[in-house]
């Protein structure tokens, strides 16, 4: 199988993607739960850690399926789950993320090339990072109303909000997320070589 196949996903591909997505999503949920008490940590750290840990599962799916549309499906399913959990407005956003990441994978045999996987996965993780900020801004409005009614000063609230959405800090967050996603792919490639390819599960 030398070329990234453009045909439809077979049932084996669909179930492999679903299995890897479940593990990735469960790990993402644990990371979110651990980092949520610290809003800045949640915003700047959760997508990055998820990008690092999830890379292995993405690489397994990518090397096994090796068909175009995988990253698009990955992002759309992520968006659909977010929509089902209450963030319906994130679905079109993740659709765009999916299209952008899929565009980065144009070419032959790209889902089996470590560098292309690295680029695609890093873009997907950066998309997740920016997506993390949206619910935070959404929750912010109601929190702000309640906090102001309870005696919080406007200055304190503005300072907290700036910490969460400062453009410079957002850029730093993108860099951290991209870097951890790249490191995750390197770690994942090592595992793939040492275990999965040796066992004959992946080519």
């Amino acid at each position: 199988m030398k070329e990234t196949r453009g045909s439809k996903f077979s049932i084996r591909d669909v179930i492999t993607v679903a299995a890897m997505l479940v593990i990735n999503y469960m790990i993402a949920m644990v990371i979110s739960a651990v980092t949520l008490p610290f809003s800045e940590m949640y915003l700047y750290g959760s997508a990055a850690i998820d990008g690092f840990l999830g890379a292995v599962f993405f690489l397994v799916a990518a090397n096994r399926v090796n068909k175009h549309g995988l990253l698009l499906v990955w992002a759309v399913v992520y968006g659909l789950i977010q929509a089902l959990m209450g963030y319906a407005f994130l679905l079109p956003y993740f659709l765009i993320v999916g299209v952008v990441t899929e565009l980065s994978m144009i070419g032959k045999d790209t889902y089996r090339k470590p560098v292309r996987n690295m680029i695609g996965w890093a873009l997907n993780s950066i998309g997740n990072f920016i997506g993390c900020a949206v619910p935070l801004w959404w929750a912010w409005d109601s929190y702000k109303n309640m906090a102001l009614n309870s005696g919080f000063s406007q200055e304190t609230l503005d300072m907290q909000f700036l910490m969460a959405i400062h453009p410079g800090l957002m850029l730093v967050g993108c860099v951290i997320t991209g870097l951890l996603a790249v490191l995750g792919v390197l770690f994942g490639q090592r595992l793939l070589r040492r275990h999965f390819q040796k066992a004959g599960i992946l080519e």
């Binding site: 179930i15 299995a19 469960m26 959990m85 929750a139 109601s142 599960i201």
Partner: protein
Amino acid sequence: MIANYSNIRRVEQIDGRTVLLLAVCACFTSFLCTSLLGHGLYMIWLFLLLSYFEIFTMGLGILGLYILSVVWLAINTKYHISFPSPLLFHMLYRLLMPAMIVCLLVHIPSGKLTSSIRKLPIPENIMLILIVMLRFAPTVVHEFGEVKDAMKVRGFLRTIKTVLLHPLSTLEYAIVPMVFRSLKIADELASSAIVRGIESPYKKDSYYIIQLTVKDVFLIMSSTVIAVICCRV
């Protein structure tokens, strides 16, 4: 064909599309409802729905978590406590409303859910991925437990110091068996589905009768009306 006989569970008597519509309704209510009173009232409505569908314990658990989040949030803002972050409780209490309907969704038999969703304009691959994910999640939790036990027996999780000093090795010992086991289960599932004709190009039918009944219409109408009232409170 399985019809709506009285001896089958209540949750099996409703259409999967109804539950999906209820999920959309809960998402919008959680997003649009600005008053805590209206939000709370809709949560009580969803709890009553879950109780009717014999998912009382899970519903009570989510309602308890909801009350805890709201009370904790009130304490946080009243006494200016910033840890745990008040944003956490804001996000949590808003997320718990759709979570109630997700509980109902996972209780619908997968065959029925598949045939219900097949009638919706969703690409088949996406639909299959979502359904397999819903069914695969408990297996993954179980498999994680098994891998954790195996790691404990082999002494990889003996102390926190061991884990912290060798984080990549610990990750490798956890991830590799997890992926191997999941791929094995995925292959078995795929074989089983192929044998039962999932790749057949012909029109697929189901053992379940997929049609909206009076009960479905009542559920959709009442939930929508209550959602509108709660958003206006």
